[in-house]
Symmetry: C2
Subunit: 335 residues, 2 copies
C-alpha cells in the first residue's frame, strides 16, 4: 500500500523537474510510511524519483527503525538533515509545513528550494478503497453519537465532553475540538464550548468529528426544538443551498467555481458568506483542495448562515466525488 | 491579567530595538488575549511597544470581536496582514510558528523581519499565580487517573481510551496522545498504543497529561507487577538519577548545564541518553526553555533508560522552580 503511494508520488516528482521532495507534514509522513510521528517532534521524509525513501527522525521515534520500505536514520541535529540533502539539485518542500526557521537554515546551506506542497499532497487527495472504508467507519461512529445525543438543559461544555466520551467508547477520538454553539453563540462560527445552558428555543450548532484509525469525519447539524419563524426559514434556506451545491458537484468541476456558486446562493437570499462551502478530509479534518474536483476525493459541504445578534445555522455533510452524482456518505444522520 | 502580560511583553519589545512583534503561535495568542483560535485557522496578533494590540482573525473567528483590550479585525486575505504591517520598521516574528509560505510573502512585501520567538515567549515562561493554580489542578486530575488505573490484561489501546475517558469525567481533555508502552514496546520512546495485551512481568511506561482550563500536566510512571532483577535495577537507577537532577535545580542554573549533568549520570551507569531531561510546560505540554532556569518556571524532569530488545523505564514529574529547592508539584502519584 505504501509502496504504491510512494510510486505514485515518484511519478509526479519525475514529471515536475524536481530532484526530490522534503516532506514535513506528519499526516503526509504517515500516508507514505505508515509511521505516526507525535506533534512537536521533528521528522523529515525525503523522496526522489527513483531511490528508496529516507526518513529522518529524532531518537524519540526509535520505533521507526522497525519500518521496512524506507531507510530510517536517527538524527541528533539539524546538521544531519543538511547532510542528507547536500548535493541535491532542486528540492521541493511543503511551504505550509516548514517553519521559517528551518527554511532559512536550508537556504543558508545553499540548497535550491521550490515550494511543492501541491505535488507532495497530490496522491493523498484521491482516496483509495481502504481509506474510504476508514472514513466511512468514522462517519458511522459520528452517526451513532448524533443518534444518542441529548443536549437540552445541559451546558455546551457538558455536551462536548459527552460527545468526546462517546467517541472513545467507539474506539475513536475527537478529530478536532467539538463546536457546540447555542443561542446567540451560534453566530460565532468557531465558538469554543462555554458554560451556557442549552434551551429549547435555541439554535444549536453541533460540529463534530471522529478520528478512527487515523481517518476523520467532520459533520455538522443544527438543532432547534421550538424554532421561531426566522429560525425555520434559515434552516430551510441552508438545506436548499446545500442540495443545490451537491447537485453541482462531479468529477472535473473546479473547486473555486463551486465556491462562487455558493456565495451567489447566499447573496441571492441576502446572507453574507462567512466561510468556504467545504473542504477536503481524510487523515486531516481539513485538507486543502485546489483546481478541479476529482473522482475519489472526499469533501465536506458545509453552508452556513450567521446573523449578528440572532444566531447561526450550519449543516455539514461528507461526500465522495464520482464521475456524475456524488455519493453522500453521511446520510441518515438526525434532522 | 492580559493587559499586565501585554505590558510585560511591551517592555521587552522596547528594549529589543524591534518596532513590533507578529505573534502566530495559537497558545501565545491565547496567553496575551484570552482568545482561543482553533488549529488550521490563520490568526495574527501584532504588538508594538506602546499601542493597543491588533488581532487579525478570519471571519470564522468572529467571536473575537467581543474582546476588549485589543483591536480586532476580520481579514479576508493575506493582503490584509500585509497592509496592517506596512510602514513598520523591524518586525519580530516567531520563527518556529511562521510557515515558509507566509515568511516569503512578508519578505516579498519588503518588510524587515527578525526572528523573535524568545522575546515573544519570554513573559509566558514565568507562570503567575493563576496559571500555577490551573497547572496544579491538571496535575490533581492526572493523580486521580493514575490512582484509579488498572492496566493488566488490557490492551495498550484500551488503557489509553480509559485514561482519556477519565480525563473527560474530570472536565479535562488529554493534553497529548497518551503513550502506553508495554513490554518490548517500552523501548520505543514515543510508542503509539497498540493492540498488545499488558502482562504482569512487563515494564509498562504510561506517559499522560490532562489539559484543564487550557493548562497542561505531563506525568510518566513505569509499572511492573513482577519485575526481574534488571527491571528492578533500571527502575532504581531512574529514581536515583531523577532525585539527583531535582537536587541540582534552582533559580539561576542553566538549562544546558542540567542536560549535561543528566547525560553524565546516564553514562556513568552505562546507559545511552535518548532525550532531554525535561521541558517547560504550561499552555503547551512542551515549552522550550533557553538560558537560565528562573523562579516561577514550571518544568518536567523525565529521565529515561531504554535498552534495545529489553525495554525501557521513564519517570516524569513536574516541578516549580524556586530560589532554592524546587517544589515537586506531582508528589504522591502511584509508585
Amino acid at each position: 500500500m505504501h509502496s504504491k503511494r510512494i510510486k505514485n508520488l515518484q511519478k509526479f516528482i519525475g514529471a515536475s523537474g524536481l530532484d526530490k521532495v522534503l516532506i514535513t507534514d506528519k499526516d503526509d509522513i504517515y500516508y507514505y510510511t505508515g509511521y505516526r510521528i507525535l506533534n512537536n517532534c521533528p521528522a523529515f521524509l525525503i523522496i526522489d524519483a527513483i531511490s528508496r525513501p529516507m526518513l529522518l527522525v529524532s531518537p524519540l521515534d526509535n520505533e521507526a527503525e522497525t519500518l521496512t520500505g524506507v531507510g530510517v536514520f536517527l538524527m541528533q541535529k539539524t546538521k544531519d538533515l543538511l547532510n542528507a540533502l547536500k548535493n541535491s539539485k532542486t528540492i521541493g518542500y511543503d511551504e505550509h509545513h516548514l517553519t521559517a526557521d528551518l527554511f532559512l537554515k536550508l537556504k543558508k546551506s545553499n540548497l535550491k528550494l521550490k515550494s511543492a506542497a501541491d505535488i507532495i499532497k497530490k496522491p493523498r487527495s484521491i482516496k483509495d478503497e481502504e481509506e474510504i472504508k476508514q472514513i466511512k467507519h468514522a462517519i458511522k461512529i459520528t452517526r451513532k453519537v448524533f443518534g444518542n445525543l441529548e443536549i437540552y438543559s445541559k451546558s455546551e461544555i457538558e455536551v462536548a465532553h459527552e460527545i468526546e466520551t462517546s467517541f472513545l467508547e467507539s474506539n475513536a477520538t475527537s478529530a478536532f475540538s467539538p463546536i457546540i454553539a447555542s443561542g446567540p453563540n451560534s453566530y460565532f462560527v468557531h465558538h469554543v464550548p462555554a458554560n451556557r445552558k442549552i434551551k429549547n428555543n435555541d439554535l444549536v450548532i453541533i460540529d463534530i468529528g471522529a478520528r478512527f484509525n487515523h481517518y476523520c469525519s467532520d459533520i455538522t447539524r443544527t438543532f432547534c426544538l421550538k424554532p421561531c419563524q426566522q429560525e425555520k426559514k434559515i434552516y430551510m434556506d441552508i438545506i436548499e443551498i446545500q442540495g443545490k451545491i451537491i447537485d453541482k458537484i462531479r468529477d472535473g468541476v473546479r473547486f473555486n467555481e463551486i465556491q462562487k456558486f455558493y456565495e451567489a446562493c447566499l447573496k441571492r437570499k441576502k446572507y453574507k458568506p462567512f466561510h468556504g462551502f467545504g473542504h477536503g478530509i481524510g487523515l486531516s479534518p481539513h485538507e486543502s483542495i485546489k483546481g478541479k474536483l476529482k473522482k475519489g476525493m472526499v469533501i465536506t459541504i458545509e453552508p452556513g448562515i450567521y446573523i449578528k445578534g440572532f444566531g447561526g445555522c450550519r449543516i455539514e455533510d461528507m461526500i465522495l466525488i464520482k464521475k456524475n452524482k456524488p455519493e453522500v456518505l453521511s446520510k441518515n444522520i438526525v434532522n
